[in-house]
Symmetry: C2
Subunit: 202 residues, 2 copies
């Protein structure tokens, strides 16, 4: 199909499609003349994915490019796929963050962590430091409770990884990491409203 | 203290403090001459809070200003405090989002939601639509499992709200909403690594 038909099929304006092409989020079509190219169903699927990453996923163009690069790359093991998916969406740790508190917490919960995941540990450290810096003290046991709930979430997610195809596993892990985060945060806010209503009444 | 001492005490450069003053994130000091002002402990505390919101909280200057406005405002009930805290950090829903799926999900879980919280419902709708648009199908029961885990998190959080002081409740709810989100996301990623290690081995 031509670019105008691709736009019609997906509801994405031609100018936006051209922008994604320039930014490398969408592969070039098959050139049919100096000014025209032909696009296929793979472009329709990729375009929907790009919209999801930039929209619901809340990624920047650079972030989406990194995630798509992971989807297109070659991968061996589930741990490797998980590692690259997580690093594509985790902010690089500022230099010199002391990870000792995050490491102690994780060890206390008995979790085994990918040794190459300093950025994810740093995200925990920064979050905990941020609470402290703001003078916000979590009630006793709250952090352990959060860890338990997230372990529950993660357990189910890892159990759901398709094991018959590396491609399907990559798709599942990358999108599950990026697109499920806003879902969890929205659910938490709604659940807070319900819990507040039940506790404090109408 | 002078602005130079405020900078020394908090480790925030004078130029940054001046920027926060201009942006209304920090109240003016008490003017002692045409070019000098005096700052107090309340400025030290507020400055730490601003750093936490912009840093660990990941808020924009406009977002931080909205949250601080809520902290400074007057509030009556816990539900009201929760509502303003959530709306300060929830992206305004795009016009014309059909909320019927989000409403059906929430009703299915038996949750009671603040009728004024269309933006939070829209966040759920956008997240679910985003998964679908990306061609990512959650395994059966996964969404219900997410809802259960988040209900557990929310239940403990609401139970921990200080009820003896509205100010303390506002601080708890606003900071708990903003600063705990990155904490939960970091915990989920680390828990996924552990679950993956236990399931797929070293």
């Amino acid at each position: 199909m031509r670019i105008s038909q691709l736009a019609e099929t997906t509801g994405v304006p031609v100018a936006t499609i051209k922008y994604y092409l320039r930014e490398g989020l969408l592969p070039e079509g098959e050139r049919t003349s100096a000014t025209q190219a032909r696009y296929g169903d793979n472009h329709v699927r990729r375009l929907r994915l790009v919209r999801a990453l930039l929209g619901a996923g809340g990624l920047s163009v650079a972030g989406a490019r990194a995630v798509l690069g992971q989807l297109d790359g070659e991968h061996e093991t589930v741990a490797e796929v998980l590692g690259v998916a997580q690093s594509a969406v985790t902010t690089t740790a500022p230099e010199g963050v002391d990870l000792s508190r995050a490491e102690a917490l994780v060890a206390g919960w008995g979790w085994t962590i990918d040794p190459g995941s300093a950025d994810v540990l740093a995200a925990l450290e920064v979050a905990v430091d941020g609470l402290e810096a703001a003078g916000f003290e979590l009630p006793d046991g709250t952090l352990d409770g959060y860890a338990r709930s997230m372990a529950e979430v993660a357990e189910a997610e890892i159990a759901g990884i398709p094991v018959d195809s590396v491609d399907a596993a990559v798709q599942y892990v990358v999108l599950g990491t990026v697109l499920v985060e806003p879902l969890l945060l929205a659910l938490r806010r709604l659940a807070q409203q319900d819990a507040s209503w039940r506790r404090f009444g109408p």
